[in-house]
Structure formats: C-alpha cells, structure tokens
C-alpha cells in the first residue's frame, strides 16, 4: 500500500526537514546567482549580467515585506483556529473589505497625491483606526451570525457557513468596485527607495509594511500575555470547558479573538492598498489561501508561528514570482501547502496534533 512508506518518510522529516524544504528555494537561487549569474537589465542595448546576491537580496526584501502583510492576516486565522478549531474561511475577504474601506476613507478624507506629508500621515492614521474598527466588527458579526449558532454542530456546518459568508463578502466587493482590479492613488510613493543595504534598495513600501506589522504584533503579544482578557483567550484556547468553569466568559472571549483577528486583517488591508496601489474584490480569496498556508506552515494556533510563516511564504512567493514566473507562483505556494499538510501538519512551531481520536 502506498501509504506505508509515506508514513515512514514523515517520521523522519521533522522540523529540520521542513526548514530545509523551505530554505531550498533561496539557497538554490543564491547559489545559482553566484555561479551562473543573472541578467540584471539592459544598458545601451546589451544585457547586463551580475554574479552577486543582490537580486536575491531584492527578492528577499520584497518577500519579507509582502510577508508582513500575510503575517497580519495569518494571525487572524491562527487565533480563531486556536480557540474554536475552525478555519474562518471568510477572513481573507474581511481583509479585502478592509482594503476597500480604507480606500473609501481616503476619498472621504480627500487624501490624494497632493496632500501634504503631515495631513497624509494624520489621515492615514485615522483611516487605519477606522478601518480596523470596521473589520474587527465585521469579523465579530460573522462569528455571531454564522459560527456561534453552529458551535455544537458537526465541523462541516460552520465550515460551510464560512464559505457562504466568504462568497457574500466577495459579492459585496464586486458590487462596490466592480470585477476588475482597481488602481488606487500611490499615496506614499511606495516604490521610492529610502536607503540601501548591501546594494539592495529598501523601498518605502517595505518600511511601511514592517512599520505597521511590528508594533501591532508586539501590541497583540503584550495583550495576550499581560492582560486578563488575553489570559482568558489563552485559557479558552487550551480548554474551553475548564475556562468556563473558572468563570471566564467564553463567548465574550471568542468574540474578542475575532475582533482582534479582524482588526489585524483591516490593518493588512490598508497596508495592501498603499503597497500594491491596486485593489480587487478577489484579492481576499487569494490572500486568504496564502495567509492560511502561512498560518499552517508556522503552526496553526501559534501567533509567532503565523508571523514566521507569513514572512517565509512572502519570500517563497517573491522568489517564485521573479524566478519561475508569476503565473506559476500560486501553484508553488499551494504545492508547499500540500507538502506541509502531508509531511508535518503541525508546522514549524506547532504542537503535536492528536492522531487517534
């Protein structure tokens, strides 16, 4: 039977096997660049070849900042799964609504290419806060309407409603801004190089992504470990029944989890809009699958894992985009997802998943 050797392989893969598989792409291309060189553009009609790591560095920088966005979304997936063991299928589309809301607010606040720096920063900050509130509330609403009534139903049921809600949200996006990707003003001149590290240009967009992700992740981490509500979240994630018996309001805690996840997705949405200068009703579906892959790769239920996974997926994606071709990137990412699910479902930082029922 074909399964037996698979089981044996799986036992030996382990965490290091996964790390090797993940590092394979950058290492391969790094060596390839150093030995064979790559075409770095044209000068005066001749192709310019280089044999250094700066293209790899560029890919990495690009990948890490993309990854920061995926990390923010992945945290939402991992928090929800950790607490109620449900894949919130609609989460990616909440992210999309976040982007749309943010862009809508820019219009309302009159933020445009000619707005001064101070006004821009202020306006974006306010946009961020409002967007986060909107998406957070949306996520809470979805939980209330679609998941809570089905908490005791077989796992299939809330998964279906999640998919249903995903479709509803996508349709909302479709009606809001049409079926094709929409260009949005490049408010912060996202591609402008701020400085260089070892010959790799660091664009404003990269800094933006990190500047939003890092404080939010730290704030979340502080919240979960230092506040009472955060402890309630951890307790409920470990054992909802025991948490209830200890007086924790499990329903409120779950709603809080959805709120936080949704808020982060909203922040990701704003960053995405600024970074890609492009929004699309379908972006949530794509982003959702990528972010979910990231969450699984890092270890579902583990916030640090989600961040790590997001960054790693961002790098893989960026490498696939620039080396294999963007039309194949999706297949590469999903290939990784399937491989992880087979080889090490608990991901890099996750705990052993129970096998026998």
């Amino acid at each position: 039977m074909p399964v037996q050797p698979l089981v044996a392989v799986r036992r030996y893969v382990g965490r290091w096997g996964l790390i090797v598989a993940l590092a394979a792409l950058p290492i391969y291309y790094g060596i390839h660049d150093l030995t064979y060189g790559y075409q770095a553009g044209y000068v005066a009609g001749h192709a310019v070849f280089r044999q250094d790591l700066s293209m790899l560095g560029y890919d990495l920088a690009q990948g890490l900042s993309n990854g920061a966005i995926w990390a923010l979304i992945a945290i939402g997936y991992t928090l929800v799964y950790g607490i109620i063991e449900l894949i919130n299928f609609a989460h990616g589309d909440v992210f999309m609504i976040g982007s749309f809301t943010a862009v809508g607010l820019w219009g309302t606040f009159g933020l445009g290419l000619s707005t001064g720096a101070l006004g821009l920063v202020g306006g974006l900050l306010v946009t961020l806060i409002i967007t986060m509130i909107v998406t957070g509330s949306l996520n809470v609403l979805i939980e209330r309407v679609a998941y809570r009534p089905l908490r005791n139903a077989p796992k299939l049921a809330p998964l279906i409603t999640a998919v249903g809600f995903s479709f509803i949200l996508q349709n909302v996006g479709l009606l809001w801004r049409g079926g094709s990707p929409q260009s949005v003003p490049d408010l912060i001149h996202v591609q402008q190089t701020v400085f260089s590290i070892a010959g790799v240009p660091i664009q404003r967009g990269y800094l933006l992504a990190l500047a939003v992700m890092v404080p939010l992740v730290f704030a979340l981490g502080w919240f979960i470990s230092r506040t009472r509500a955060g402890r309630a979240m951890r307790a409920t994630a470990q054992d909802p029944e025991a948490a209830r018996l200890m007086g924790i309001n499990v329903n409120a805690t779950i709603s809080l989890t959805f709120l936080l996840g949704g808020m982060l997705a909203g922040a990701a949405g704003l960053v995405y809009a600024l970074y890609e200068t492009n929004i699309w009703y379908f972006q949530g579906f794509k982003a959702g699958l990528i972010a979910f892959t990231a969450a699984v790769m890092g270890g579902i239920g583990n916030v640090r894992g989600a961040v790590l996974g997001g960054l790693i997926i961002g790098v893989i994606q960026s490498l696939a985009d620039s080396r294999i071709g963007p039309q194949w990137t999706e297949a590469v990412v999903f290939g990784y997802l399937i491989a992880i699910m087979i080889m090490r479902p608990r991901g890099l930082l996750g705990e052993e998943t129970r096998e026998a029922g």
């Binding site: 894949i87 089905l150 279906i160 249903g164 479709f167 349709n171 997802l337 399937i338 699910m341």
Partner: protein, 397 residues
C-alpha cells in the same frame, strides 16, 4: 409553532401509511417517463431545454460530490478539478487539438478527415471517468490521515493547482509543437457526439443532447443507488460517522476512502466531458474555485448524503443559475430601483443560501435519514417473511 410542525408530521405520516409499498418505485418510474418525454413539449432549440440540459449535467456532478462528501464525509473543496479533467479529456481526445496525431475511432464521416485524436463519445466518457478516477485517488492520497477541515484545504489547494496548470498549460509543450492546454483561449471546435445510426449531434437540435445527458444521469443514479445499499456504501457511512469505530470493525481505511474519491471523481469527470462537448470549447476560465462551491451547495441544499437530494439540489441550482436568474429574474433589482442586475449577485445569493441552509435546515431539502427509515421498514417486512420461511425467527437469550 412546534405544534403546527407536529401536526404536519402526523398528517404526512398518515398519508404515507395509506400509500401502497410500491409507491416509491412507481413515483420514480413516473419521473423517468416524464423526463424522457419532456423535450417534446419544447421547441428543439429552446432556452428552457438548454437550461434543463445544464441542470441535469449539474445533477450528475452533484451525485459525484455526494459520494465523497455525503457518503464518505470527506469535505472536498476542489471538485472543479474533475470538471476540468473531464472536459480536458474531451479536449485532448475529441478534437483537433493534438494536431500531429491522426487517430479516429467510431466517429462521423466528416470528423474522420480531421487531424487530431477523435474518439467516439462513449469512449471519451469512459476515458474521462478513468482519468478522473485515477486523479481522484492521487488527490485523495495526501488527505487520508488528515482531519476534516484540513482535507478541505488540501483538496482546495489541488483544485487551484489544476486551475493554474489549465491556464498555463499553453506554454507547456508536449512535443511536436503541441501544448498541454490552450489556456484561456481554450480548445475550441471540440467534437460533438456521434452515434452510428443516429448521426452527429448539432446544437440546433437540443433533444438528442438532452437524452444523452439524461441517460448518463440515470446511469450514475443507478450506480449510486446500488452503491448506497451495498457493503461498500455502508463502509463509507461508517467511516463518516466514526472513523475509529469503523476501522475497528474491519473496514480498511485507505482503500475505502480512495474508492470514494475515485468514484466521486469519475462521475464528475463524466459530467465534465459532457460539458466539454456541449459547450464546444474547453478553456481555463471555466474552472474556478467558485464552481466547487457551487456543486457543494447543490449537495448541501439537496441533503448531504441523500441521493435524491443531490439530484434535486443539482437540478434546482442548475435552473436557478442558468434560467431563473439570468432569464427570468434578472431585472428584478431594477424594478426595486436598485442599480444592478441579479446575475451580478449570483455568488452572493449562493453564499447566502449556504448560510441559511446550515442555520435553518442543515439536513437539506431531502434528508438522508428519512429515506433510510422508509427503506428499512420495507426490508424488515421482506426479511421477516424470509425468516419465517427458513424457520429461524426468534432467538434465545
């Protein structure tokens, strides 16, 4: 409210008790007869017939997915993969796409002169079923030890990968200047079915198409009914209900699950092959994730695990999607002063239906259980006759 429901249930049971035991067979027979003569009430190229043909093809898809999700309880969110593979089987082996080849098997005189691989439609149907059965096993293999929601994600990922391959296949060469797929441009001029004695189908006369898909559906329906009431069908349901107990009772996990994936995929492939020839082209744009959800919605709304539920769900959603919304109700929002057409909110409507169904009537329109109870009452009557005849009635404690 519950009193009303109880009253309704009482009436329904009273009515059922009074009907003769051959009722369900007679009903089924009547439906089949209606199904066969239906085309004669409509012009040969009517829009309604077109919608019906598509609806019946969807019912076949739903029956296939019902085997995987309904019987065996494996949440497959990548079913579109089998639609794609079925359609591509047709595109590869029933058109001029592989123009270097010259293979013709039982095709019309006109087709015999064309380059490419051209097989008779029945062969194509069988081929699509086999290709998809193998693909189903390959896709199912990684999911065997995973829990429900992870199975969903992995199958979804496979569905997406196949979609990517379909789009990019036009840059993947298979030798002789031919490519794997034609991407978004599509493989066009796909053969139409030809049967010696009946002739070549054409799209001006939809009746033969209808009878063809009806025959396919009846075949798939028959196989489903046989499977459900068999050792294999019971094994699937046992696995669905409680995997640990099922395995402890001697049901081989891997083989049984892979069979579910294969059979479900084979049916999807057959329907996909039909779509390929009916739409006369196979292009990558037809294969989106939304389609997987569409078929899943049919199974769920019809009744998870219920064969007739899958048929009803398939037909209902097929009609809603291809007739009701685009032709009949499309202008409805306009009448309320709203600035969009109904087709634009199609997927939102399906999403909404899914949510509502799960919240209000998760067992679907035709629940699985009810039929089971009816059937067992019938079997019990037969069995006690059998046991009396053999003199083994009663037992000792």
């Amino acid at each position: 409210m519950s009193e009303l429901r109880a009253q309704l249930r009482e009436w329904r049971d009273a009515v059922q008790k009074r009907l003769p035991p051959w009722r369900s067979r007679a009903l089924a027979g009547l439906l089949i007869v209606i199904g066969i003569v239906l085309p004669f009430f409509f012009p040969p190229s009517s829009g309604f017939m077109n919608a019906t043909i598509i609806a019946v093809a969807y019912a076949v898809m739903a029956l296939g997915l019902n085997v995987v999700v309904g019987f065996a309880g494996l949440l497959d969110l990548g079913y579109v993969a089998f639609y794609a593979l079925g359609a591509y089987s047709l595109g590869w082996f029933g058109s001029g796409f592989f123009f270097k080849a010259h293979v013709h098997v039982l095709v019309s005189p006109v087709t015999r002169t064309l380059p490419g691989i051209h097989l008779n439609f029945i062969l194509l149907l069988a081929g699509a079923a086999i290709i998809c059965a193998v693909a189903g096993m390959l896709i199912g293999l990684p999911t065997l030890r995973l829990r429900g929601d992870y199975i969903a994600i992995v199958t979804l990922a496979f569905g997406e990968i196949i979609g990517v391959v379909a789009v990019n296949g036009q840059s993947v060469g298979v030798g002789g200047g031919m490519t794997l797929t034609a991407g978004n441009l599509g493989i066009s001029a796909v053969d139409q079915p030809y049967f010696p004695g009946i002739g070549l189908f054409d799209l001006l006369n939809l009746r033969p198409w209808y009878w063809l898909i009806l025959a396919i559906m009846l075949f798939v329906l028959f196989v489903n009914l046989r499977l459900r009431d068999s050792r294999l069908g019971r094994a699937w349901i046992a696995l669905r209900e409680d995997e640990i107990a099922a395995v402890s009772m001697g049901i081989p996990l891997v083989r049984t699950k892979l069979l579910a994936y294969s059979i479900g995929a084979a049916f999807g492939g057959m329907s996909g092959a039909f779509f390929g020839t009916y739409y006369t082209e196979v292009n990558a744009g037809q294969f989106q994730f939304g389609f997987s959800i569409f078929i899943l919605a049919m199974v769920i709304i019809g009744g998870l695990g219920s064969i007739w539920g899958a048929v009803v769900g398939g037909l209902a959603l097929g009609y809603i999607n291809n007739y009701l919304i685009p032709d009949v109700l499309n202008g409805l929002p306009g009448k309320f002063g709203l600035n969009f057409q109904l087709t634009q909110v199609e997927f939102g409507i399906f999403g909404f239906l899914l949510v509502i169904m799960m919240l209000l009537r998760p067992q679907g329109l035709i629940p699985e259980r009810r039929r089971r109870l009816e059937l067992t009452a019938k079997i019990a009557a037969e069995d006690s006759q059998l046991m009396e005849a053999q003199g083994t009635i009663g037992g000792s404690t």
